[in-house]
Assembly symmetry: D2
Homo-oligomer: 472 residues x 4
Amino acid sequence: MIFDPATDKPQDECGVFGLYSPQPNDLAWLTYLGLFALQHRGQEAAGMCVSDGEKFHVDKDLGLVTQVFDERRLDGLRLPNAHVSIGHVRYSTTGSNLRFNAQPLTTRTNKGILGLAHNGNFVNAREVRSAMLMEGALFQTTNDSEVMLNLIARESHMDLIEATAGAMKQLKGGYACVLMSRHTLLGFRDPHGVRPLVIGQREDGAWVLASEPCALYAVGAKLIRDVQPGELVWFDRGGLHSLLVEPRRPTPCSFEWIYFARSDGELDGVDIHASRIRMGEQLAREKPVEADIVVPVPDSGIGAAIGYARESGIPFDYGLYKNPYAGRTFIAPTQEARELKVKMKLSPTSAVRGKRVILVDDSIVRGTTSRQIVNLLREAGAREVHFRVSSPPITHPCFYGIDTAARKELVASTHSVEEIRELIGADTLAFISEPGLRQAIGGQGLCGACFTGEYPAGTPLLNDVDKLALEV
Amino acid sequence: MIFDPATDKPQDECGVFGLYSPQPNDLAWLTYLGLFALQHRGQEAAGMCVSDGEKFHVDKDLGLVTQVFDERRLDGLRLPNAHVSIGHVRYSTTGSNLRFNAQPLTTRTNKGILGLAHNGNFVNAREVRSAMLMEGALFQTTNDSEVMLNLIARESHMDLIEATAGAMKQLKGGYACVLMSRHTLLGFRDPHGVRPLVIGQREDGAWVLASEPCALYAVGAKLIRDVQPGELVWFDRGGLHSLLVEPRRPTPCSFEWIYFARSDGELDGVDIHASRIRMGEQLAREKPVEADIVVPVPDSGIGAAIGYARESGIPFDYGLYKNPYAGRTFIAPTQEARELKVKMKLSPTSAVRGKRVILVDDSIVRGTTSRQIVNLLREAGAREVHFRVSSPPITHPCFYGIDTAARKELVASTHSVEEIRELIGADTLAFISEPGLRQAIGGQGLCGACFTGEYPAGTPLLNDVDKLALEV
Amino acid sequence: MIFDPATDKPQDECGVFGLYSPQPNDLAWLTYLGLFALQHRGQEAAGMCVSDGEKFHVDKDLGLVTQVFDERRLDGLRLPNAHVSIGHVRYSTTGSNLRFNAQPLTTRTNKGILGLAHNGNFVNAREVRSAMLMEGALFQTTNDSEVMLNLIARESHMDLIEATAGAMKQLKGGYACVLMSRHTLLGFRDPHGVRPLVIGQREDGAWVLASEPCALYAVGAKLIRDVQPGELVWFDRGGLHSLLVEPRRPTPCSFEWIYFARSDGELDGVDIHASRIRMGEQLAREKPVEADIVVPVPDSGIGAAIGYARESGIPFDYGLYKNPYAGRTFIAPTQEARELKVKMKLSPTSAVRGKRVILVDDSIVRGTTSRQIVNLLREAGAREVHFRVSSPPITHPCFYGIDTAARKELVASTHSVEEIRELIGADTLAFISEPGLRQAIGGQGLCGACFTGEYPAGTPLLNDVDKLALEV
Amino acid sequence: MIFDPATDKPQDECGVFGLYSPQPNDLAWLTYLGLFALQHRGQEAAGMCVSDGEKFHVDKDLGLVTQVFDERRLDGLRLPNAHVSIGHVRYSTTGSNLRFNAQPLTTRTNKGILGLAHNGNFVNAREVRSAMLMEGALFQTTNDSEVMLNLIARESHMDLIEATAGAMKQLKGGYACVLMSRHTLLGFRDPHGVRPLVIGQREDGAWVLASEPCALYAVGAKLIRDVQPGELVWFDRGGLHSLLVEPRRPTPCSFEWIYFARSDGELDGVDIHASRIRMGEQLAREKPVEADIVVPVPDSGIGAAIGYARESGIPFDYGLYKNPYAGRTFIAPTQEARELKVKMKLSPTSAVRGKRVILVDDSIVRGTTSRQIVNLLREAGAREVHFRVSSPPITHPCFYGIDTAARKELVASTHSVEEIRELIGADTLAFISEPGLRQAIGGQGLCGACFTGEYPAGTPLLNDVDKLALEV
């Protein structure tokens, strides 16, 4: 039995959330709302911890936020005087599917009890872990949060803020973390700001940290600003504090704008929905084609399809129905079964019958799903199918927390665009250019390592890369 | 704890499905696929029965198709030589939420063991039930299928086909049913064809009945034709048989095209997606307004919004993000909580900021959700909100299986359009006209009782109407 | 996976319970307590219904009482003004393991809504069912309660009491039933009183019906008397009413005293524990043997072992430890696995080492378990094992609700005592005589059909017997 | 909702189990059987880990062994070439009820991955834990196993055996542990042997460690010998190895013989069942009384009651029926409810009616249950109730893993025997003397700290004792 959405998208993001409330609040409920808004960033596990300064409640499990936190379990997390909480939704990155790897990770240390949740990946976690093992440390999970916690705990002479800043300097990679003690909420972002983290505040003064603004809105908070690359922020009775630990050239992950982030927010000052429209417009300028309608692959291709239609003047239409109940059904892992899953999820409407169709999607990873969608459209009577992709070809793996499949499975790392076109059976195929993407997103800098192989925040040691490839 | 999607749509449809396969097939699995495609027609319970001519397996429970039929329970329904099956998804109509009311209903009769599943409502079920109670019948459920089965069983001198035709003549209302014995699959539709039922066939010769074509496609079948109003069809070794029992003027339910049916099919010869585009175009012609963008209420308003944008020349844009995980979360039933549910489901994008927005939805029932959506747009910076609805005002309850709320809750039965506009806070509000809707859908006839109060297939006795009102 | 206690006892009893409370009471809770006390009579399913004169709540499912009725489900059955309730625990008799066959069975009839639960078996249910099918009745279960309810409903001109009395006259066999309408609790016992039913009353005036006195005590009621063979009793605002419908020679089932009933009660005036002591004493007189200790097979052989030890003067000792957690574990149905189950349940103590052991059990059905127990004792160092059984050899099947295995599996129907002794590997083997058993139990009459083949309440038609044999 | 058996016994034991098999075996299944046999030692959580030398599978959860390890989860633990495994059943000792505290605890260390499960308590765990926290260690649980694992991991220059021996020297208290790496099974017992651990071997050469012999028998192994106080044993390809690390005067816990251990085994050379008989005989000699029958409180009082009856010549009888389904039901924690629980569990038989009863139980902790049992007997007609207890009065708390309630709740620490007698309402009350108990058990030495306050293996620092008292 395999639970697997009929998808061929980059995966393995996580979402983090945190709250510091000067006055008592129902933080378990607010954290639930925040995690629910971040559900698209991880469907495999959910967890949270809540403290009132004395008690420290934690619960986490495999499943969706609404599956893990039923009414009874949410009640078990409630504290009348709660003022700090963090939460996490997870799609497995490194570390297997075990329940024991769910986050937040909680532990007793010489700085009191701590809870930590992270999004992203530390590229040198293995070396650091090995060194600490030799010094007598235990590792009860394969979760990288445990490495971070050990680094923090090891500095027994420092206070929590100093020790966290010290740990940030030692761990390389792309990450955004929320950390709590009984009294303080901390958040920090890697030196390049590869993974996102935003700060919000409610009218009652409560501070919020989240991977995306939607989770701020979900708890009635306003977006204040993004945590800066390399910045450590913390919240206590004194309000918001900040320390720039290791600021470097900002290179936030471009895939947040292409696909991951919800379209109702902005990150690092760039609106998600508007940037997707611009990607479609740019694509239409770069890769025009004569056709009758522009059709998105729902839901992630909608923004770019609207932009493409707008720039090209070709009518936008809904050519693919998406079954809202798809995603979680059991199917034997045969090729026939995988094709079935696409059919259970997407179904062509009459809009494509007899039409020359421009099909807009945000990315192609392995190409298998794309082939089936093209095929569905042809069976439904589309005369031509012109495939347009609002990201450049993905040729390199991500080491900063995104699972883009192993390199050998990335169709664009081993095939030319023409070969991919043939593979997926489209009449034409074109990707947005990398400069075109950067222009569409705007902003200062971007990580495009998966398109270019240039990794701003370092890579794992070579033998680790090999191991990762073997393990996938 | 209340499970309630943040919705204000007409509800309470059901979906039916049936298979007759001359050669052995994995009917449990095919029925699962068919029901999964019909999931949008009922999320409260799912069930199926399967027979190989001797054994007769049945399983049903509260929950989504994928929740009820996990691998183990699906295995329990499998029969190596299965050749008949039926299935059902349900949103509670008359009869409460009890597990005992899940369908199909199965029973031993003098015609052997029978399984029945229906969509719709019998308006004279209470009278027939009362008469049969007096004659000594038992009713173990409040499910109307049981009345139909008693009518069939009572005619002990007739065969199954005759007895079913006889029962069709006695029960009034709008309905579509699938019925199976160990050897035969039957399907029938009320005299006016209010509720839909289509016939399909697979390449291997297996016959399929379903509420919508999408379920045919889901099992690899082609659409052959609709079951005719008042027609009884059955399938056995001799193939497809038909009997026109009570054909009357066809008046299929207009809400199938407005909202219920999936956009990837056609019913009674009229394509769903194309008709929704036409509704939007008609609405733009009837109720034009100056504005900057046309925004759908996702997902059901998309087709009409595209049509409206196309006819008016005003750009289509995505102004509301819909959380795909919304729908099933527990919230206390307070007003504040209901508003929260809308916020957990819908969230404005930057597209509406500073814009004059035409918001397109398919219907307004109580108006509460509409007010919140208008409010969300204003908070996000929309300068004007012009609400356009692709159905006429709903002023009367449905007695044919759709729960449109009790009449006193129907905002349009007690308020003028201007009053509703004020209530929901829109700058302008307009509905498609009833003739305009008929023209957009096309076809021969339509039931528009909920707009006009003219009930083609009769109404319950008055005191039943009152009781229904009291019970809601 | 097979859930199967390591047992070779007669099985398939059920337990019934009912309450009529003139003043409001928490009947859901009291019924829960009553059913919990009757849990030993059926572990496969549990159910109850409760009414306050208007509402009629029912819930039932597969599982133990404490598994089915968790706090939430029990709350769902609570009614502030409840005054009637019935409940049932079930071990599957006729009718398969389906959830749909759980009791009580509830149905709407011309006498209002009714709930029925029964213990026992109607030997002519098939004929009655066939006749009613021909008349147009539906049967949604294979539960005999449905036949009884159809008989009651068919007499639409009679009131509930008359109609129930009429149904009692038509159904033959051994049974005890509780039946409730919204206002009245009824109880009745077959003409021979084969199955037990007792009446109790609480200090607050509430009346109780139950299969055994332990369930009366569990709800704080005192034992008033047994329902008489062939008697129909009912309770309403007027208190207790009685009608002797079909009294015949009383022949209560002897196995209630041998094995079924809890030792803390009495039935038909005969104390259970005391009668078991007398069975052991009688056995010691009839079948003495020289030995060092008397060891019971726990727990059902304890009473007889005490009696045997007392009469013989040979010391009683605990030679077999019984694991209190045994009974419900999954094991593959191989011979090796079945032996494993006995080992997981029973384990010898040092008491038997080097001893001549008299092992006392209440019955031998197939003999397989007995062989393993003898073997366990020998492995633990018992020098001799003398097997003594406090029931006569079981040579005939029971048609009154007890599953004693099909006749061909009854070891005593195909083997002599000496052959059985050899089979189980005991040094000596002896059963109590049938007259000895009758004398030990005392009372007026007894059903000993399984020892003698004389069936006081009739047998099914021969072809039914064959079918039963085939189906087992 | 409170899950709480109607018991007033010393609690909080755990059970440990381990296997080393030179040839591949189904260790998951064998560990399941072993844990099932030890179920009486802990009903709150169960867990196991299994390794084949490479993979290391672990699973654990709250619940009974048969609840945690259903077929699917057991399958998840199976490894074709498994050769090492350990398992644990737990009743919460120090550390709360959290799932995270279930054992075995597994961790990656510089000695490879390790799994540890323990029974008992380290009296200086807090001090050791505090010191390690200061050095930078993390503690993710409140489970003392984690302290032991940190001690082992800290000695990065030693091998696993040396490091374990070193850890044994640093942790004080009463404990028995099983520990596994991918290749080796270790077992060790505290210097005084307070907690039990036995060694067994199967015919196929597999070695077994378990808290009691019953678990050896459950997997087809023979008892080889007890692990000696202060001994460390380990098993690898070279067979059994032993190191006497810290042998001190043996003082095994006397309550293993009084109550904890199953009657079908022996510990430290002393048979459990036989010693209970001797306790009863000794009690009869020390505290005789004229009476008609001797009645045990089932099941734990049976052995002593038989001994008392044998020595006194007064007939043994079964005066209390014990509901085998009692123990796990939800009840509100009111006084009335607690009394209800006793009634749901125990019920008097007719044996006590009109009799002078000697009631034999193994211990009295708080006295509340005893009072109710005496009351039940009186209500059932007992003329006199003489309470005899086969353990001396419990006046001191246990610090070696047994929860005897906080000292102030121990009725015997604040009341004289006469006061207790009055409290429980018995006609007479007598306990076995402490020398009498020692004589009945025999053997070399015994820990009787809970009777005498003399703690052979040390006590926690005073402030810890106070904290413990506060926390209970």
